[in-house]
């Protein structure tokens, strides 16, 4: 149960970073969706290590294999099992982890919770686990992109999900540049996935400088969705932003989530913050979008806009004091090939989780509100 996500469109992920393989089972996928291994691979490649000179140089092909639920290139409505073999299995490279707990890693908490731990790499808490999420997200994204003409609820356009980096360390993209919905091309133009070229260049420089120091940095990802219908979200507990917040905080290294005006909105007065309604383009619209695309936990047809905070990578190539497994003082020195900044590779993961939440909500809304009418 803790390794499953979604109610109707549900993924179950499994696998350790240095075990034989990583995978996902997708249950509840609509049938007849055309899908190819190449489409899944393309998105996995966006999160793959070794994709650029600012990520870890570790090479993993992350080749996906479809084991069930797809027949002659189309989904069959039965569970879809996807498998990625780990080429870099339980090696001796991580032997220092067997002796001491890495600061701000999950070694200590996993060890205490379960009383046992795979000491090779991050085990289950590794970001490699997100391979299954991204693979599941490919199906969700593709269904949403095709949703406009089909669904019971009219979408307000083609559904597009776009995540991008707005800050790395203290380098922040100008807010003017963030005003527009960025193109995929602008996001993918640089390995740092900030659509503002000048800012991106500064971010890349900072990441390289930090890496040279053996240190690490974090940043903020913004995600926007346009084309959604009015009506997605299941109050009172499964509000759309509540499920998005959960999805984002379920990702490794995340420390915060905000939607629309977010924390800054707490410094406005109601008269400044309220989104007035108007009739625009023949439908009910809001003049501003401080709500960030939902009201009362339900999408209102405006752009969905939220941000996710990622802490600096815990693994640094420096000596740190810690304790060993017996609780005695020890020192640990990060080795190996790590990302000085995981945020660029998290962009496709944020998009995948967003797609999973939106699709599941769309299906739930349809079940209650579009199956029967009176």
């Amino acid at each position: 149960m803790p390794n499953s996500f979604g109610h109707i469109f549900r993924i179950t992920t499994w696998g350790e970073s240095h075990g034989p393989a990583i995978g996902v089972v997708i249950d509840g996928c609509p049938p007849c969706l055309p899908i190819s291994p190449a489409e899944i691979q393309a998105e996995l490649d966006r999160r793959r290590p070794g994709q650029s000179d600012i990520t870890t140089p570790r090479k993993e092909a992350d080749t996906v294999e479809i084991l069930s639920g797809v027949f002659e290139g189309r989904t069959t409505g039965t569970p879809i099992s996807l498998l990625v073999r780990n080429t870099d299995q339980r090696s001796s490279a991580y032997s220092e982890m067997k002796l001491a707990y890495r600061p701000s890693h999950a070694d200590f908490t996993y060890d205490t919770k379960f009383g046992i731990r795979d000491p090779h790499g991050g085990g289950r808490s590794s970001a490699r686990e997100t391979i299954g999420r991204v693979a599941g997200g490919v199906f969700a994204k593709k269904i949403l992109a095709a949703a406009a003409p089909y669904a019971g609820r009219p979408a307000t356009g083609p559904v597009e999900i776009r995540a991008f980096i707005t800050s790395i360390h203290d380098i922040v993209m100008p807010s003017a540049a963030a005003a527009e919905f960025p193109t995929l091309e602008a996001v993918e133009a640089t390995p740092v996935r900030c659509p503002h070229a000048l800012t991106a260049a500064a971010m890349i420089e900072r990441i390289k400088a930090v890496r040279a120091d053996g240190d690490s940095v974090g940043g903020v990802i913004e995600c926007r969705v346009r084309g959604l219908p009015v009506g997605l979200g299941e109050p009172v507990f499964d509000r759309l932003e509540a499920d998005l917040a959960k999805a984002m905080l379920s990702l490794p290294a995340t420390k915060g989530f905000e939607i629309g005006s977010g924390f800054a909105g707490t410094t406005l007065r109601g008269s400044e913050h309220n989104d007035l309604f108007e009739n625009r383009d023949g439908r009910v619209r809001t003049v501003t979008n401080r709500s960030g695309g939902t009201q009362g936990g339900i999408s209102n047809g405006e752009e969905l806009v939220f941000r996710v905070a990622f802490k600096p990578t815990a693994t640094i190539l420096r000596n740190q004091s810690t304790v060993d497994l017996a609780g005695h003082p020890a020192e640990i020195m990060g080795k190996g090939r790590h990302d000085p900044c995981v945020v660029p590779r998290a962009v496709p993961i944020v998009e995948a989780m967003t797609a999973l939440v939106l699709l599941d909500h769309w299906m739930r809304d349809a079940a209650q509100n579009h199956t029967f009418s009176f």
Copy 2:
């Protein structure tokens, strides 16, 4: 399903703000817990309207009735049904809502989603719905408070949950004052529930000034928990912070959640952000707590520290432009007796949701990790 929260200890809330009643069903409560209506009432009174001169003057007794699951003052393990009658039922006071959509309220999205809407007050999206959450939280809080000596996992002390206000509008409590775990007395000393007396006074003044303007303000609530054991949290999706984020974003008027270093943590380097381990008080501790009490989604025995952003109340006593139900331009003027700032009344609600998350996670952890051993 959307109106249920929790996996093993589960609450299901129901009721509209101006319907006959509001209530909650609690399923999975451990048996033999001593409980009295007075204990539930005391906590409901903390969120009740009319409790001070900075909340709405509307009076609701919010008297709770126990309908099942309790026998001779102790829970029986069967579902507990709690009922609060609305004394202020479907009145004509809200007739303006029948004609036009209130800006930044849920009128429009509910109407579109369901095709029907109770136009009296906020209906289901009203904060009155949280009565059931607070009532359910009373049971969870009491169980957690008694947990230390009983549970399979040793707690690190008596479990205490304390929420309090750190900012209202642009008035922020000094961070030095926030360093200590506030006492309940300090929090409850003023109606604004900020434990720093000077800041509280300024906040109250601001709320009154804003109300005089017919306007509203928001703020930030911090919640801390101490005494938790190491080991609560169910990765990869049901990480402790993920479920807390969902719980908080499921509350009306919330726009953000952050844990530990949060958004500010994205501007630190890894070498500045990492929490080093040490042996303190005979157990493994972290020197700092930028993690906010969890690592890898599992509690690490340090204080749980998170913050929730609340937007300014949407209802203001000013004329606002909007559209009517047919989509034509209209004007709407907030009437009636509203809170100029809902944040002080949200403090017990944040505590209740926190207790619900923690108790459910404790029970889930026990099921997997303390039922059988090998």
Copy 3:
């Protein structure tokens, strides 16, 4: 969770037989369904005690109150809370239960499981709990009855659910009479709810004779559903018959479930048992219906036909040996006003549970298979 049933259309029941009230919360109900308290009451009256001279003479009005989720006679899509006050609260009539465990009742198992027990009547294990199920079933039945013209999947006619008694003790309705889909009028023609008049008369006589003996009898209910579309059922675990079996075995006093050919079908050869396909009435039909309306766990458009076994009522007006709460030998004598046979009153309960299963499955099928198409 154990007191909730269904995934999308979900009921949560609560209440003890001699507590203040009994009730149900219905979540996920489609909006805009016209519903009146009278409709709910009519079905509650079918299961009410004191309705005829073969049931307990105990009188309970079982008057239902709608507390939420309905506005001006139509459902609003928000949770529906229904309440029935117990007029016959914790009396002294059951004092013997405080001292000793009633044979084949749940006193001993509840007491051991929870360590506490409401000793007045059956508490939560009483058949009074099914009031909430029947009330929830009213909504499900009405939606299904209206489903034919609306749903994504074409029904094969108006959906009708008909349960009736085929045997009481060793009195069995002739199989020839069971071949036709009975009318509601035929079922309700006698208080025993067997549509075959001669058999019904013999059953009534037997029940009266057994009651005169201070004894009790059980029987078998058959339930049939016609008008269903092809396609309901969610393999591999949530097969339609699996969820029906669970629903039926969740009722008090049930000991068995069989669908189609059932246990008798195990004595046929495959060549005798297989349902051959043919084209009839312009669609794919089976010539016979030994499958009972499902194949591979999915409805096949034929009549759904299943049977449920009810044991004789455990409460008898005779002296029985047992043990007291300390485990010492004791005697217990059933007192009060009990049903010598609960099966006739179980007929509307079986129908209600069937409706709940079918509606939930229809909504689940729609979510996966009719929300998006490619």
Copy 4:
């Protein structure tokens, strides 16, 4: 969701009979359980085709691979992924299924539900799907077998689950022989898994005779469990027998479930049916066991006894009339190597599903009733 089973200890199965592989993900498994591939293999071999001269001669090695969740021979608390490659992949052997619907098979209902179908073998509705269930059951069985000394609730002995065949076609094991709890050796003594040697011989002869006819037969499996504690079962909906009934009816080819006295119990009077309590062996026991091990949906410490009806195999080597995919009359002739009777191979599957239900209920009971005490 439809391909997952269990709440805390949960399995998710995937795979088609002629796809690349079949598998299962187990979530919620207690950590530190010693487990080897050989143990899993041994149980898979009990359900494997080609194991004896009364099953299909088709050979599948069904070799299991552990992909995650196990480290150095012990479970780690993270999800366990198990994989079995299909050696007999999408062949041309089943080309007749592409053209016409096999009677009493799921071809027609799957095709209609999903609008697409893998026409090679039974696809997802094949009994090969149960490989994942049996593999998951190995873990559950082993945990239960070790449960006695550990769990919060004292077991009444070592927990043993024993399924066996009581009838094949019209050959029924003598009831006197069924009175004792059969040994595993007696069950496994013959390939038909009936512990009564003379009956087993007759059953084998019948199966061979029927196969020679190109026909098939069904039968009844009884399952017994001893050693359970009092207290397993979660009323009102998740009664132990309700979840067992669902588990059994979720298996291919099942048509009925009964517990204790079952359908035959409906012909007894209450005075004949009631299980009187006595003090035996120092604890509360029932003199008889017509209840079959549960009262009020909760285990009562007596032997759990239930029976499952399996219809005759649908595939027969005879010409049968049917319709083609366009609905036109057609004929179909079963080919290939099929089991004339699937019941013997279903014995380990029934045991596996029983273990899954019992373990999940034990963990749920512990969560509510043994995590906190007052």
